[in-house]
């Protein structure tokens, strides 16, 4: 039987065991290698990548789209489910929110990495043109970052109070952090009322902003004439994919935290069952958008799109294309449609597949289009006609993914990954019934 005391004991942030330490070290190694690669890139220029005049965008941009896509999970789990008065998702809200915040942070970082002159970043603010979709993207990303940060912070306030009371369990430095961030929270009824209303307002506001952020990102491609990008479907297509990869990431995170912190009582098999169903539904929606995106143009097979479409279906990119679709959509659906498949371990595997397949799907959005220009590729060295990322690009891309996971890991070390106060509230409400 769960008591308040037990809940607090279980959910307080704990120190890393040996597994946690190894995990952090591995992530740090990836981050450092990525940093070294970036320093090389800064000194020699973007020539260290494999990007050239035709494939002028590469895995930095596909990584960027991937990060923005994952960050939408914050709005889905936290906002949408909260607004629809779903109660079972409460343990997952903070996981979703921290994934969102760290993903958006690294989206901004990877976009600066992709710039040819990063030291001129401030030009965006001093000389920005409102007509440019990049400026729209900067505005929405910044807005979404602050909204997500607030949506992470406000529900934390109640937990600070609890943690400050249990000073013995947490270290001295952590206590200073907690008191700095939320010592003013005294659980007074007025505070609770204001806080709840603020969270409600944020949940409503974040939904259109989340839609905007990924629609504007899709417009970075849809506002051009390129085959494969010149599509009216792009906004909805991207958002559907974003929700899918976000919930897949939550499945992965759920499983890892449950195992690492022994949170079986809080992240139950029922949660996996429900998240699994959500992922199936989102995967079907995404499949629907993919069919729309590819079937209609393939029916027409316009000359400008022919090379691109055939390249994806049967040509140079076919292996990656069918791999991505299988791992992101088909196989997870097959796993999760079955009740046995929605148990924690199979669901975790399905979630991993969703994330990996989605990453490759983002690569397929960027590169094949650029290598099918409207005028023939001409008067360029041979290396310009292909694109396979160089080791520096891989290092930086993996480094950014490792960095994102590092932020999540450190957050779980410092702050409770499952909302303590809300769990207590739910338990008490449950007991009343």
């Amino acid at each position: 039987m769960l008591t308040r005391q037990k809940i607090i004991e279980d959910l307080l942030p704990k120190k890393f065991g040996w597994k946690g330490k190894v995990w952090v070290i591995v992530l740090l190694i990836f981050c450092v290698i990525g940093l070294v690669a970036y320093i090389l890139q800064l000194s020699k220029g973007l020539v260290v990548t494999s990007m050239r005049d035709y494939a002028s965008w590469g895995i930095y941009i596909s990584n960027f789209v991937f990060f923005v896509a994952i960050s939408l999970v914050g709005s889905l789990i936290t906002a949408v489910l909260r607004l629809t008065n779903v109660r079972w998702s409460t343990p997952l809200t903070r996981i979703a929110e921290i994934i969102a915040v760290s993903a958006i942070t690294f989206a901004s970082i990877i976009i600066v990495v992709d710039m040819g002159r990063p030291e001129r970043f401030y030009n965006l603010f001093t000389h920005g043109r409102l007509q440019s979709p990049i400026v729209w993207d900067v505005i929405v990303i910044t807005t979404y970052f602050f909204i997500s940060l607030l949506l992470l912070y406000l529900p934390l306030l109640a937990d600070f109070n609890i943690m400050l009371q249990i000073k013995k369990s947490t270290g001295n430095r952590l206590n200073k952090l907690y008191s700095y961030l939320g010592s003013f929270w005294k659980n007074k009824p007025e505070q609770i009322k204001i806080n709840n209303r603020s969270i409600q307002i944020l949940s409503i506001t974040i939904i259109p902003v989340a839609f905007a952020i990924h629609t504007v990102t899709s417009w970075l491609f849809a506002t051009t004439y390129r085959p494969g990008w010149d599509s009216t479907n792009f906004g909805a297509y991207f958002i559907a994919g974003a929700f899918l990869v976000g919930s897949g990431a939550v499945l992965v995170a759920m499983y890892i935290f449950r195992r690492a912190y022994k949170l079986d009582k809080y992240i139950t098999t029922d949660h996996f069952d429900r998240m699994g169903k959500i992922v199936v539904m989102l995967a079907l929606v995404y499949l629907y958008f993919n069919v729309n995106e590819f079937l209609a143009p393939a029916f027409k097979m316009k000359k400008t799109e022919e090379g691109y479409l055939l390249g994806l279906f049967t040509g140079d990119y076919s292996k990656v294309f069918w791999f991505a679709l299988s791992t992101a959509i088909f196989i997870p659906i097959l796993i999760l449609v079955n009740k046995k498949g929605r148990r924690p371990l199979p669901a975790f595997i399905a979630g991993c597949l969703v994330v990996i397949g989605s990453w490759f799907k983002r690569y397929l959005i960027v590169t094949p289009t650029l290598l099918n220009p409207l005028l023939p590729m001409r008067d360029v060295p041979d290396s310009y006609r292909h694109y396979f990322p160089s080791w520096q690009e891989w290092a930086i891309a993996m480094g950014s993914l490792a960095g994102m996971m590092l932020i999540i890991t450190i957050f779980a070390r410092l702050l409770p990954i499952i909302p303590i106060q809300e769990t207590i509230d739910e338990m008490e409400e449950h007991e009343k019934d």
């Binding site: 043109r129 806080n195 603020s198």
Partner: protein, 300 residues
């Protein structure tokens, strides 16, 4: 016997060696490329005059321009006192020199002048000379009703202007980068009165803002007279007014000139969302103030 043969052989060997050495030396001298230097005289609108020298050399079977050759220009004779100026050929192998005031007395003495140009020897090329014998001349343009142009070509003979027959002239309208022929005839030739009659056949040609055009009569690359152009402004064009989209609001205009609908939509959305955020920041402040009312440490 042996000694005599040895000496003969020595002499023969030496001679052969000398011949080989000399031929090698002369061969290496022959290898130096030939620089072709040309000189032309230009008279713009009877006012501005200059000399233009161009260089060419056969490299890899093709004639190519030679840059970086130092040239010295002279008038009448190749004497330091008659030096007009120095110039270096540019990338197109061309060097220009405007005739300086120092040539004033020599220039005014005679209607016939000689210009000379000398190139400095370099590693690849020997020094070469070239000259141009000029007879002073001029073109006068006049217009007749019904859009007819007459251009008279005369040369200077003992302070008198004498019309010249048989000189090829082009009559064009001044345009950017190249001049447009006024009629189908590309080249006219002066008649016995030194006159060329051209019809202005260009209908509705855009001129400046009030419809003025500039007619040019030119003599190109004449062996005696050089290159002359004379201009005259005529009101035979259409007035041209070009309104560019530069100062219109559009999606491709510069910063600050975006379409109004975009600015309204964007700023109102930003104001609305950040208004909400600002309100929430205020709410956090309120939470802090509410919390400060209690003594720290006590819990509820």
């Amino acid at each position: 016997m042996k000694w005599k043969n040895m000496r003969k052989i020595k002499y023969i060997a030496l001679t052969i060696g000398l011949i080989l050495f000399l031929s090698e030396v002369s061969l290496s001298q022959v290898v130096k490329n030939k620089l072709i230097l040309g000189l032309g005289y230009y008279n713009n609108n009877n006012r501005l005059q200059y000399l233009k020298a161009n260089t060419k050399a056969k490299l890899n079977g093709k004639f190519q321009q030679v840059a970086g050759i130092h040239l010295s220009f002279y008038i009448t004779v190749e004497d330091p006192a008659n030096l007009l100026g120095r110039a270096v050929t540019n990338e197109k192998g061309v060097a220009n020199l405007f005739i300086p005031p120092s040539a004033k007395s020599v220039w005014n003495k005679s209607p016939k002048q000689t210009f000379l140009v000398v190139s400095e020897a370099t590693k690849e090329y020997d020094g070469v000379h070239s000259n141009f014998d000029l007879t002073k001349s001029r073109i006068q343009i006049d217009t007749l009703p019904d859009r007819k142009i007459t251009a008279t070509f005369s040369e200077l003979r003992d302070s008198a202007w004498i019309p010249v027959k048989g000189v090829d002239m082009k009559v064009t309208v001044k345009r950017l980068g190249g001049d447009l022929n006024v009629s189908e005839t590309p080249t006219y030739t002066t008649d016995s009165l030194g006159v060329v009659n051209a019809d202005f056949k260009l209908d509705k040609l855009p001129g400046d803002s009030i419809g003025n055009l500039v007619i040019i009569a030119e003599v190109d690359d004449n062996d005696i007279y050089g290159n002359l152009t004379t201009e005259r402004s005529v009101p035979w064009g259409e007035s041209s007014k070009y309104v560019s989209t530069f100062n219109q609001r559009s999606l491709f205009a510069r910063r600050g000139w975006s379409p109004l609908w975009l600015e309204w939509i964007a700023y109102s959305i930003i104001a609305a969302v950040w208004g909400v955020l600002f309100y929430l920041f205020l709410q956090i402040r309120k939470l802090k103030r509410l919390g400060a009312g209690y003594v720290a440490g006590k819990s509820e």
